[in-house]
């Protein structure tokens, strides 16, 4: 199998003897069997091809978690096109920026977003799985609207064959200038990841995975691609349910989920408020977590509650999907290592100022560099950024330089030590603080601004903005909130905007971030 296109395909499923009648996908209320899943994928793919999608074209997918969100992803791949997932909860402006950057002519989305398609110039066709026809006054001239009726009336399409090295999907992530950058992964990269995941976690057709990550977060590649490779069922947990840890635990117990993968934040919520005393979660044999650190005491508490499960700390920037894993075998007392190079990945620690210098010797700090079959092809239409982030080893292998600092522990496992830049993780989301700073400075009246992360001991992490204004604009805080809400996904909007007389600065005049953070901690 060379292509992702082969995964949810009737012929292949029958060939590997996956029972077509078995459940492949469920969202807790509706389900699809493998044959129904393959059929759905092939019909949506046919609709895309009918409406002009050609191999290599980018198709945006902006859908909340559901059986149809998974089917839509595979449909885009089946049509030989490149899948561009969008955050379904983000405001229109950042969505439009991604659609424009990736040059998507077709958008698969919900009915609500379909009515806003005029905000996405360049989109000439919008497909709404499960959608009723849009009334004439909501349609936009020149944009085809495809609803459920047309999908059901269209005969399933054959797979479109592309090269394994051709792009399969583009994951957009925050860039430090504020412009998001697209990380391109090929079919080969995604399949290498899916194979490695199936081997590492021993996935098979008896497994039942829970999908928590939204499509635009690369953790979802585990459920999107590793699950069908193994013939494992996926429970797609809808967003409304995710807001209630006690509902999540109930659904996970009811569906006898065997493998969980999410950011630590959600696991902590389930540990604290998931009513675990009243749930039988003994079906869980693996709990994968990644995206940020899991506070050791919280992790220890949850491990005690789920004795049948092995916890696995997964690390890897979206540029390489996953590159280390550390299975937690003893009760954590301090930060858990990110582990050793995963599967076919190779890892080096390099000097932050000269990547050709490899850091040798246990205990010395360096920047993590990775060479792996699961590496990105590059940043979309950004050869300079790609060149800046990667290098070619004399032996011919390609390496990606993460911005992450690490040190090798005595046992050879890597310990994560932080970033070389100002990228942070808040509740699992990757955020470039400098990008938010830049946006704040666009507000009339703001002369200086900086955003810091407040990580209080007994409360959730949050962003706090410190702003200096020139007093010319009344209600500057309201204007700031309005601008940020329109331009950023919700998790990136600071919870607190504080107007201050001046920002703390270093001797060279740059904003002193540690001092700014201390300011926020001490005034709380």
């Amino acid at each position: 199998m060379r292509l992702l296109t082969d995964l949810v395909d009737r012929t292949r499923l029958d060939a590997v003897q996956i029972d077509g009648a078995d459940r492949a996908l469920t969202d807790g209320s509706s389900s699809l069997s493998w044959h129904e899943y393959a059929d759905r994928v092939a019909r949506i793919a046919a609709v895309l091809v009918d409406h002009g999608v050609r191999p290599g074209d980018r198709v945006a997918v902006r859908l909340a978690k559901s059986c149809d969100s998974f089917a839509s992803v595979h449909a885009v791949l089946r049509a030989g096109a490149v899948m561009v997932p969008l955050d379904p909860l983000a405001p229109v402006t950042p969505a439009a920026a991604v659609i424009a950057d990736a040059d998507c002519a077709v958008l698969i989305t919900d009915r609500r977003t379909a009515a806003l398609v005029a905000e996405f110039p360049g989109v000439r066709c919008v497909v709404v799985p499960g959608g009723r026809e849009l009334p004439p006054d909501q349609r936009v001239e020149g944009v085809d609207f495809v609803g459920e009726a047309e999908i059901e009336a269209t005969a399933p399409a054959d797979r479109v064959i592309v090269d394994a090295d051709d792009p399969a999907y583009i994951i957009y992530t925050s860039g430090s200038t504020g412009t998001p950058k697209g990380i391109v992964h090929s079919h080969a990269s995604a399949l290498a990841y899916a194979r490695a995941a199936v081997e590492e976690y021993g996935l098979d057709s008896d497994d039942r995975l829970a999908n928590i990550a939204p499509l635009h977060f690369d953790q979802s590649t585990f459920e999107l691609y590793a699950a069908p490779l193994a013939g494992a069922m996926v429970l797609v947990i809808p967003d409304p349910v995710l807001r209630f840890p006690a509902s999540v635990s109930e659904l996970v117990a009811r569906e006898r989920i065997t493998v969980w993968y999410s950011v630590p934040y959600l696991l902590e919520q389930i540990s604290d408020r998931g009513a675990l005393d009243d749930r039988d979660l003994s079906s869980l044999r693996w709990v994968l977590y990644g995206g940020e650190a899991f506070p050791p005491s919280a992790l220890a508490r949850l491990m005690e509650r789920l004795p049948a499960a092995t916890f696995s700390n997964v690390y890897g920037p979206a540029e390489v999907n996953q590159c280390t894993a550390h299975h937690v075998r003893t009760t954590p007392v301090g930060p858990v290592p990110i582990g050793r190079a995963w599967r076919a990945a190779k890892i080096r620690l390099v000097d932050p100022d000269d990547r050709s210098i490899e850091i040798d010797g246990a205990g010395r700090v360096g920047v993590i560099a990775v060479s792996t079959p699961t590496m990105m092809t590059g940043y979309w239409k950004s050869p300079n950024l790609t060149a800046a982030a990667t290098f070619l080893d004399p032996d011919g292998s390609r390496w990606y330089v993460t911005g992450d600092l690490a040190r090798e522990g005595d046992d050879g496992a890597l310990e994560f030590l932080g970033r070389v830049d100002h990228q942070v993780k808040v509740r699992g989301h990757r955020i470039e603080l400098e990008a938010i700073d830049a946006l704040l400075r666009e507000v009339d009246g703001v002369t200086a601004a900086t955003v810091v992360v407040d990580r209080p001991e007994d409360d959730d992490d949050r962003l706090v903005a410190l702003v200096v204004d020139d007093g010319t604009r009344p209600a500057v805080t309201e204007h700031i909130v309005e601008l940020l809400r329109a331009r950023l996904p919700r998790y990136a909007v600071p919870a607190d905007i504080r107007v201050v007389d001046s920002l703390p600065r270093t001797a060279t005049g740059k904003v002193d971030r540690p001092a700014a953070r201390a300011l926020v901690e001490h005034t709380d």
């Binding site: 967003d239 995710l242 807001r243 509902s247 408020r273 919700r490």
Partner: protein, 89 residues
């Protein structure tokens, strides 16, 4: 704020109005209209932190403790569902 042994606030119309006001003014992530039958979760009007704020406020107002196992979608999806749950306790 009530204390044990004291008469607690009733789950009446006035309480319902205060609950709607709390959600609209302190919890809602967007400016959409909040009414007793409004689905708070489907559109992202209320996120998981918002749920915590609502539960804490209800517990304080009524002087009760809500079992974490009862903090589920079925009881908190709309204000009407919250009231039904609270009256049935």
């Amino acid at each position: 704020m009530s204390s044990p042994g004291q008469p607690t606030t009733q789950v009446d119309d006035a309480f319902a109005e205060r609950l709607v006001a709390l959600i609209r003014d302190d919890v809602a992530a967007t400016d959409e209209l909040v009414e007793p039958a409004t689905d708070l979760l489907l559109t992202g009007l209320v996120d998981s932190l918002g749920v915590v704020v609502i539960v804490d406020w209800i517990e304080q107002e009524l002087g009760i403790e809500i079992d974490p196992g009862d903090v589920v979608l079925e009881h908190f999806q709309t204000v009407d569902l919250m009231l039904t749950y609270l009256r049935g306790r």
